[in-house]
Assembly symmetry: C2
Homo-oligomer: 421 residues x 2
């Protein structure tokens, strides 16, 4: 059956779903009883929630342009194919932590998946000051499980190269990252936005900062060439939905074979942005000090959890074609290999800081901003938060090599971003 | 037209070529006048030289197995498709330095190309003690031009990803490198061969050397994940044909998107092997001292030539999507970017030493050996050369970071490999 792509409207959606027996049964009742709502608040897609007597589900459909910008910026529908493939891989290694996929229609660029309720987008929870007791352990597990298991530390070179072949075609989504994260914030570019005039001087200073620009472009080179694992590619706190008990990672359409530190840095960078934004959300100075401390605890717990789990998976692995297990048999061998694992994770730590810092900067000086900061109504107050975040991010990007570990990162965050007085 | 693959025999070849007008005209005369010789002396393919009244050409056809081992080791015919695509790319950037392609038949896994005469395989020249005045400059140019121009330092991310997609399917040829260079020499493997018994203890010592094994496997990880450029993948001195005036690089079927240092290391490592082998070829001690010095001069000239040309291409580049030119405008920017270029090339230098050393070791302890050493009839004399090469290679692999530059590499070669007395 050849179907031609068309954007979905609500009425049509019910009839499409009625034609899918496995999907219909999840909704229950008759199509006329199904309630359809378009809820997409992201930058790229249509998202519908469909609810019937027996339950709900989500339908995500790619639009042929960037929703945030409009039809002037076309974007291939095929990103839905990459999202679907990434979800399938992630479900293999972290089944508890991604939405279930019920149906995929490549021609319609449409994924029918689990309706997450009462999960909310984590970023909104961070703005409200909500603590999530399982978040750090869950995200550490997601990062370690998906990134380790799609690497040649875990599996065969042939599987790695098949992933490379498939995801190398996700060119346009990668291009968004390449331009909007690594390049545009550091030059005059039509799409840049920032809190002007308060941050005008900061923007100009970043454009003139040679060391920062070299560091950003060195990370871009790494993003373009380091095919370490199948990365999510957009793992900010807006791609995490959770409750007090459950965590799910969504929106994998940026997935490709890239540097492991990019995903870990996305989580850490967005936590640090949330940390810097607290000053804009608290009712009185220091009212959110406890929540600030909770966020920094999550920074430590996510990194430490990722580090320990990645290391444990590596120690257990038997099939990895890099660092072939059977070569290392004596106690001296095992000690040398363990030292190499530590060196590898130290290198991921520095990558994480570099990518994380760049992801903070792009949210303040580039095209796509974050609600953590945008929702601070007073421009001066917002600028205070933004400037602290920029200063912290600058340190992470340019001086990442100097940090002995994650605790020093947290200390730097406090030093740069604690409210005065 | 669908044609079914069949290995070529000489008689059939003339009728195939007679059906290709552009090829026939290069041979001239009638097919009955064409002389066909099978000359393949490599490990993988059939190679024919066809000569007619007007000129000659070469026909290279892949066999569905490894010629060196036999039909028990199947190998995809599609490697011919990768060789063809690599030749097309190399011709774009180094047209003077690769054979011209006249015809490609994907189904027959057959490339019809320029007949190089009187060029000989460089390895044979090195054994005979022949100096090639243009070799170093030509190979430096080949390396810099092909490796720089197929990287994101020169071009678009989209072109890079299209190359990744295409060459990611060259799985089986890459697997040969992964196994035979990075893994098998460091364990008991059925295909390993070495000069036994003289090198038995050396082989055992390498199998027990934890630091060496970790270094080898770290390079394997890099080989599997560092998609820096379209590399030749097998650039030893048996893949170089030359005369006193001309140089050509052949046999690109191992090409894929890999680490730049692998190709540079292949050249340097094979020169150092030839250097260590001289003792087995000279009529009397020190008879080849001048030739030894010439080889070491080539080591310096190849690296320095590659380094300077790569740097020059980078400085001139306008379209590279990594280190975007327009970001770097002030004198401070240019100084910072230049320092970054130097750091990048230093990193390539260390990669070159690591890969080069591993390529030396595999030729002595692994499956595929080299004529430089194999042609030394006396096993004890050969072992002396081999042991010096192993010692030098070990230093390059494990202590590469300590070398300040290529001159120190040459000094280490002299220290490890000069004949005694």
């Amino acid at each position: 059956m050849v179907s031609t792509y068309a954007p979905i409207d609500g009425a049509k959606l019910s009839s499409i779903l009625a034609g899918l027996p496995e999907v219909s049964v999840k909704l229950g009742g008759a199509p006329a009883e199904w309630r359809v709502r378009e809820v997409g608040d992201g930058n790229l897609n249509l998202v519908f929630i469909v609810e019937g007597p027996a339950g709900g589900l989500v339908v995500k459909q790619a639009l042929p342009y960037v929703r945030l910008v409009g039809e002037s910026w076309p974007l291939p529908l095929e990103r839905s194919w990459f999202e679907y493939n990434a979800l399938v891989e992630q479900a293999r290694y972290a089944p508890r932590l991604v939405p279930k996929v019920f149906h995929f229609d490549r021609a319609q660029a449409m994924i029918v998946m689990e309706y997450l309720s009462p999960h909310i987008i984590m970023r909104k929870g961070l703005i409200r000051g909500i603590e999530y007791p399982h978040f750090a352990a869950d995200i550490a597990e997601f990062l370690a499980a998906t990134l380790f298991n799609t690497s040649v530390l875990a599996g065969a070179a042939s599987a790695h190269k098949r992933r490379l072949e498939l995801f190398a075609r996700n060119i346009e989504l990668c291009r968004i990252t390449e331009d909007l994260i690594f390049t545009d914030p550091y030059r005059e570019a039509p799409l840049n936005r920032w809190n002007s005039p308060p941050l005008d001087a900061d923007k100009r200073a970043f454009e003139a900062d040679s060391a920062l620009k070299v560091a950003a472009q060195a990370r871009k080179y790494q993003f373009l060439t380091a095919a370490q694992a199948l990365i999510h590619g957009d793992l900010h706190t807006g791609s995490i939905m959770l409750t007090a008990h459950e965590t799910r990672v969504i929106d994998a359409e940026f997935a490709f074979m890239g540097p492991i530190g990019f995903d870990v840095g996305a989580v850490i960078g967005n936590l640090l942005l949330a940390y810097c934004a607290q000053e804009g959300h608290e009712a009185a100075p220091h009212a959110r000090d406890a929540y600030r401390a909770w966020i920094l605890d999550q920074v430590v717990a996510v990194w430490a959890g990722f580090h320990d789990r990645f290391l444990a998976l590596w120690r257990q692995a038997r099939e990895g074609e890099a660092y072939v297990k059977s070569l290392f048999t004596s106690p001296q061998d095992e000690a040398a290999l363990e030292a190499e694992r530590r060196r590898f994770l130290r290198s991921l730590f520095e990558d994480m800081l570099g990518f994380g810092g760049l992801k903070m900067i792009r949210r303040i000086l580039g095209l796509a901003h974050v609600e953590d900061l945008e929702s601070i109504a007073d421009p001066a107050r917002r600028a205070t938060c933004e400037r602290k975040a920029l200063r912290l991010a600058h340190t992470l990007v340019v001086e990442g090599v100097k940090f002995s570990g994650i605790v020093e990162v947290v200390e730097a965050a406090k030093r740069h971003a604690l409210p005065l007085g």
